[in-house]
C-alpha cells in the first residue's frame, strides 16, 4: 500500500485523472501493469517525471493484450510519442485510455484511422487497405480477391471518388458500424 501512494505525487495523479478517462485506482493499477513489463527499467518512484523512462517496443509488443493483435506494431507506433514504438508511462496510459470502454467513439475512430494508416500519409490508400486485409486474413486470400475487397471498401466509403479514404470518410463509415465500439476495445 505504501508503495502505491508514493509512486506519484498528488499533483501528478490529479493531472492524470484530468487528462485521461481513468480514476486514481485504475491509474495506479495500470502503472503496476506497466512496471511489470520491465521491472528493472521502470523505477517505483516516478515523482521526478515520467518522461525519461521508456519501455522498449520489443517488450511492449510481447504484452499479452497486444501480442496477438495483427496491428500491434502500428498501435505501438501510433501511441509512442516519438513514433519509435517505445513507450513512456504517459504513452502507455494514453493507449489504455483510448482502448478503454469509456472512450468516446470519435476518439476511438481517430486512433483507429491512425492505426490503419500504415504509411503515415493521413490517407488510407489502396496499399494501406491491402496491408490491413492481409494482416487480418493471413495469406489466405488471393491477390484478385484482395483487390476485389479493397475496391469494394473504396466503393462503400470513398465519398469523393479519389481512390483513398480521408479521415472524415473513414469516420463517416465507422460511425455507422455498430461493431466498431465493441471490437475496438482492449481490457488492460
Amino acid at each position: 500500500m505504501g508503495n502505491k501512494v508514493t509512486t506519484f505525487t498528488e499533483e501528478q495523479l490529479e493531472a492524470y485523472q484530468d487528462c485521461t478517462l481513468f480514476t486514481r485506482k485504475e491509474i495506479l493499477r495500470l502503472f503496476k501493469r506497466y512496471r511489470e513489463l520491465a521491472p528493472e527499467t521502470v523505477p517505483l518512484d516516478m515523482k521526478n517525471g515520467t518522461k525519461k523512462v521508456k519501455v522498449p517496443y520489443s517488450i511492449i509488443e510481447k504484452m499479452v493484450e497486444l501480442k496477438e493483435n495483427p496491428f500491434c506494431k502500428n498501435i505501438c507506433e501510433v501511441f509512442s510519442e516519438d513514433g519509435s514504438g517505445d513507450m513512456t508511462f504517459d504513452d502507455f496510459l494514453d493507449m489504455c485510455s483510448v482502448f478503454c470502454e469509456a472512450a468516446p467513439r470519435d476518439i476511438k475512430a481517430a486512433y483507429a484511422f491512425k492505426i490503419y494508416d500504415f504509411d503515415h500519409d493521413n490517407y488510407l490508400s489502396k496499399s494501406d487497405l491491402e496491408r490491413a486485409l492481409t494482416s487480418l486474413t493471413g495469406d489466405g486470400l488471393t491477390q484478385d480477391e484482395i483487390n476485389f475487397v479493397v475496391s469494394k471498401v473504396l466503393e462503400e466509403a470513398d465519398l469523393d471518388d479519389d481512390g483513398m479514404l480521408s479521415y472524415i470518410e473513414f469516420e463517416h463509415v465507422i460511425s455507422r458500424s455498430p461493431d466498431f465500439i465493441s471490437t475496438f476495445h482492449i481490457r488492460f
Binding site: D18, E65, E68, D160, S177, P178, D179
Partner: protein, 772 residues
C-alpha cells in the same frame, strides 16, 4: 527542432517534389516559428479546432499557412509536375475541416440544448508542440475552458498534461467560483467512480473470456451481468418496503414445521410460513402507521416501473446506436469486415488464429455468395422452398401448440393429483416445462438448417423467434391455468403460484447446470479420450442468452407472489456466471462463425422487453381481475387487490375533489384514446422526418461525388492550361476556389468562387476563360 527534422524525413511528399511556392511555405512552417494558431481556420471561426489528423508533421498545416500570402509568380513559373500533388493540396482534400465546420455550425444551433456537442474532437498532429498555441487560445477566450474537455482530444498525453499545467496557473478571473464548484463536483464524481471501481464485478473474468473468445461470447456474460445488476434494485426495494416491515411486525406466527432441506428444491413446507410467499403477509397496519396492503401493492408497482424505465432506456440506446445511426444509404459490409473485423480484445493464440480464419472464411463465403446470387432461382425451386418453409413453419407452430396443450393437460388432469408421493406430484410440472424448453429449441435449430436460408443471420433470428414464441406460449398457458384452476382448489392460491414459480426457477437452474455439464463437459471428455471425430463443443450464445431472458421473465412473473424471488434469481445468476465461465474456458472452443454482438444485443433487449411486458401484464391481470384468497395475504378481505386503490380514491371524494376529478379524467377512455392518437401522430411525424433525412443524405452523397469529379476535371484543365501558358502568371489560390465547400472554409474567400465552380461543361479553348 530535432523533432521537426525527424518529421520532415517522414513526410510522405518530400518537399522537393512540391513546387517552390509551396516549398517556401513549407519552410516557413518547419522553421522555429510555429505558425500562429489563428491560421488554422477552425480556431478562427469556432471555439474548438479541428485540425486534420496528422501523425508526424503534415502537408495540411503547411497548406493552410499559405492561404494568406503566397508568391504567385513563383507558383506559375514552375511547371506542374504532378496533378496528384496538386490534388493533394486542394482544400476539399482536407474534408475534415469542411465537415467539422458544418458539424460545429449545427452544434452552435443546439448549444442551449446540448452543450456537450460543442466540444467536438480536437485532432492535432502527434508529436508537435501545440500546447502553447492552445494555451494562447485559452488566454484569448477564457470561455474555452468550459467549451471543451481536454479528455476529448487526440493529443498525446504529455501535451495534455502540459496544457493542463499551463491553464491551471491562470484560472478564469470571474469564473473562479464556478470553476471551484465544478472542480468540487468533478472530485465528487471521481470519488464515486473510484467507489464504482470496487463494485465492478468479474472484471478479470471478463477480460479472460474476451481474450479467449472475443466479443461474441463475452456479450452473453455481459448480458448476464446486466440482468444480475437490474435485479439488485428490485431486491432492495422489495426487501426495504415489504420484507423488513413484515419482519418487524409483532404479530408474527412462528412456524410449526421444521426445515429439512428438501424445501429448497420444492419450495413448500417450512417456507410456506415465512416471508417467502404472498400468503404470509399481513393485511393489518404495522406500528399503527405502515399499511401493509398499500406497501405491497405500491412496491410491486414501483419495481415494475423501475424495470420498465431501465429496460426502455437501454433498449432505446442500443437501438439508436445499432439501427438508427448505423443505417445509412449503404450497408457497409466490406468496411465493417476490414476495419471492425479484428477483435482487439483477443489475447489467446488459438483465438487469434481462429479469428484470422474466421475473417477469411467470412470474406470467402461472401465472395462466393456474390457469385451465386447472379444465377436466379428457377420457378420450380422457388415453389419447392416455399413449400418446405410452409411445412416447417406449420410443424413448428403445431409443436408449440402441442406443448401448450400438454401443459394445459397436465395442469387440469387428475393424473398428477393422484400421484401419491408429494414430492413427485409437485415436481412433474416444472420438469416437463424445463424439458420442453430444453429440447424443442434444439429441434427448431435442426429444422432451421433444413430450411436453407440464404443468410445464416436469418436462420439464427428465425430460430430465436421460434424459441421465444415457445417460451411465451408455455408461460401463458401456465399463467392462465393458475388463474383459472388453482383458485378453487387451493386455500391460498397465491402462495401456491409462488411455489410453482419458485420450482420453475430452481428446476431451470438445475437444467442449466446439467446441460453445461453434459453437453459441454462430457462432450469435451469424449472428444479428448475416445471419439476423435467429434468437434469441440461451441458456446451457443443465442440459446444461452434466451435462457437468461426466460429465467428473468420467471422472476418478473413471480415477484408479486413470492417477494423473495429476486434474491433467489440473483444467487442463481451468480452461480451460473461462475459455472459458465469455468465451463467455457475449460471445454469450449471459439466459434468460427462471426457473432455480431452489437446487433444481437438489440434483439435480445427486444425479447427481454417483450417478456417483461408479458409478465407485467399477467401480474396486472391478477391484481385487477382475480379475486384474492380469503384467508391469507395482504388483500384477504378484498374483492380484488386493486380494490384498495379504488377504495382509496373513493375515500378521497370527500376530502380532495379535484384529485378525484383528475383521476377520473385520466382513466376515461376518451383521454386514453386521445393520448394514443397523439403518440401515433408523433411517431408518424418522426418517421417522415427520418425518411426525409435519409433522402437528403443520399442526395448530398451524390452531390459530393459529383463535386469530386468536377474538381478532378477542372484540375486537369488547369494543368493543361498552365502547360500551355507557362509565361502567364496565375494566382495559386484559384485552384482552391474550385469547390464551394472549400471556399467557405478559407478566409478571404472570393465571392465569385461559387460561380467558378459551376461552369464545368464547355471544353475550354483558353483556361483563363473558364477560370475567371
Amino acid at each position: 527542432m530535432e523533432q521537426y527534422r525527424h518529421q520532415n524525413g517522414r513526410e510522405h511528399f518530400p518537399l522537393g517534389t512540391v513546387n517552390p511556392g509551396y516549398q517556401e511555405e513549407g519552410l516557413h512552417y518547419y522553421s522555429d516559428v510555429i505558425p500562429p494558431i489563428g491560421s488554422y481556420p477552425g480556431y478562427n471561426t469556432n471555439t474548438s479546432a479541428h485540425i486534420p489528423l496528422d501523425r508526424r508533421g503534415s502537408d495540411a498545416s503547411s497548406y493552410h499557412s499559405d492561404t494568406n500570402t503566397g508568391p504567385r509568380h513563383r507558383w506559375a513559373a514552375q511547371e506542374m509536375r504532378d496533378t496528384s500533388i496538386l490534388l493533394e493540396r486542394l482544400p476539399s482534400r482536407q474534408l475534415e475541416r469542411l465537415a467539422s465546420d458544418v458539424a460545429q455550425k449545427s452544434s452552435f444551433r443546439q448549444k442551449s440544448k446540448k452543450r456537450k456537442s460543442l466540444h467536438g474532437t480536437i485532432h492535432i498532429p502527434r508529436g508537435k508542440d501545440v500546447s502553447k498555441e492552445l494555451m494562447d487560445q485559452y488566454n484569448e477566450d477564457p470561455n474555452l475552458m468550459n467549451e471543451f474537455d481536454i479528455k476529448d482530444t487526440t493529443l498525446p498525453l504529455s501535451s495534455k498534461m502540459r496544457i493542463r499545467s499551463l491553464t491551471k496557473q491562470r484560472p478564469g478571473r470571474l469564473k473562479s467560483l464556478k470553476y471551484s464548484c465544478g472542480i468540487a463536483w468533478m472530485h465528487f464524481r471521481q470519488k464515486m467512480s473510484d467507489f464504482a471501481f470496487y463494485l465492478q464485478l468479474w472484471k478479470g473474468h471478463m477480460k479472460k473470456i474476451e481474450g479467449h473468445f472475443g466479443t461474441g461470447v463475452l456479450s452473453y456474460f455481459l448480458f448476464l451481468q446486466w440482468i444480475f445488476y437490474i435485479n439488485i434494485p428490485v431486491f432492495i426495494v422489495t426487501f426495504g418496503f415489504v420484507i423488513v416491515p413484515q419482519l418487524l411486525d409483532s404479530s408474527n406466527i412462528s412456524s410449526n414445521k421444521t426445515f429439512t432441506g428438501k424445501e429448497l428444491l420444492l419450495g413448500t413446507g417450512w417456507f410456506n410460513d415465512t416471508i417467502m410467499y404472498y400468503g404470509f403477509y399481513t393485511n393489518g397496519t404495522i406500528s399503527n402507521k405502515y399499511e401493509m396492503q398499500f406497501a405491497y401493492l405500491l412496491t410491486c408497482g414501483a419495481y415494475y416501473i423501475m424495470c420498465i424505465i431501465i429496460i426502455a432506456l437501454s433498449i432505446s440506446r442500443s437501438y439508436k446506436t445499432n439501427y438508427i445511426e448505423g443505417s445509412g444509404a449503404y450497408d457497409f459490409y466490406y468496411v465493417t469486415r476490414v476495419f471492425c473485423g479484428w477483435d482487439y480484445g483477443i489475447m489467446a493464440v488459438d483465438a487469434a488464429k481462429l479469428k484470422h480464419k474466421g475473417i477469411w472464411n467470412e470474406l470467402k463465403e461472401y465472395l462466393s455468395g456474390i457469385q451465386k446470387e447472379k444465377k436466379q432461382a428457377t420457378c420450380g425451386e422457388k415453389c419447392k422452398w416455399i413449400f418446405i418453409r410452409l411445412a416447417t413453419n406449420l410443424f413448428v407452430l403445431g409443436s408449440i401448440g402441442g406443448c401448450g396443450y400438454l401443459i394445459y393437460f397436465l395442469s387440469t388432469n387428475k393424473v398428477i393429483t393422484n400421484i401419491a408421493q408429494e414430492e413427485l406430484k409437485v415436481m412433474v410440472m416444472p420438469i416437463c416445462v424445463s424439458g420442453i424448453i430444453l429440447i424443442l429449441p434444439l429441434i427448431f435449430s435442426f429444422i432451421g438448417q433444413l430450411e436453407k436460408y440464404e443468410k445464416p443471420k436469418t436462420e439464427l433470428y428465425v430460430g430465436m423467434v421460434r424459441t421465444m414464441l415457445l417460451k411465451a406460449t408455455v408461460l401463458a398457458v401456465l399463467v392462465s391455468s393458475w388463474y383459472r384452476n388453482t383458485i378453487e382448489s387451493h386455500p391460498c392460491w397465491e402462495t401456491y403460484v409462488g411455489q410453482e414459480i419458485y420450482r420453475l426457477v430452481i428446476v431451470d437452474f438445475i437444467f442449466t447446470l446439467l446441460v453445461t455439464f453434459f453437453i459441454e463437459f462430457i462432450k469435451r471428455l469424449f472428444k479428448e479420450h475416445c471419439c476423435k471425430f467429434l468437434n469441440y463443443p461451441e458456446f451457443d450464445i443465442g440459446r444461452n442468452t434466451l435462457n437468461l431472458i426466460y429465467s428473468q421473465a420467471l422472476c418478473w412473473l413471480g415477484t408479486y407472489f413470492c417477494p423473495i424471488l429476486s434474491i433467489v434469481v440473483i444467487i442463481k445468476l451468480f452461480i451460473i456466471f461462475y459455472v459458465k465461465r469455468v465451463s467455457v474456458i475449460l471445454n469450449c472452443k471459439p466459434s468460427l462463425r462471426p457473432w455480431r454482438a452489437a446487433r444481437a444485443h438489440t434483439i435480445f433487449m427486444g425479447f427481454l422487453f417483450v417478456f417483461f411486458l408479458l409478465s407485467a401484464a399477467a401480474v396486472a391481470c391478477g391484481i385487477i381481475f382475480i379475486r384474492p384468497s380469503l384467508n391469507c395475504g395482504p388483500f384477504r378481505n378484498k374483492d380484488k387487490p386493486y380494490q384498495i386503490v379504488t377504495d382509496f380514491v373513493a375515500n378521497l371524494n370527500h376530502e380532495l375533489n379535484w384529485l378525484q376529478v383528475i383521476i377520473n379524467i385520466i382513466s376515461s377512455p376518451g383521454f386514453i384514446a386521445g393520448t394514443l392518437v397523439v403518440l401515433c401522430v408523433l411517431t408518424y411525424y418522426m418517421r417522415i422526418v427520418m425518411v426525409g433525412h435519409k433522402e437528403m443524405v443520399t442526395l448530398l452523397q451524390q452531390q459530393l461525388a459529383m463535386e469530386g469529379k468536377d474538381k478532378a476535371y477542372l484540375l486537369k484543365m488547369l494543368q493543361e492550361a498552365s502547360s500551355k501558358h507557362k509565361d502567364k502568371p496565375k494566382p495559386p489560390d484559384r485552384s482552391r476556389q474550385l469547390s464551394p465547400g472549400a471556399a467557405s472554409t478559407i478566409e478571404n474567400s472570393r465571392p465569385d468562387g461559387r460561380n467558378v465552380w459551376i461552369v464545368t461543361h464547355p471544353p475550354p479553348t483558353d483556361a483563363d476563360d473558364v477560370l475567371l
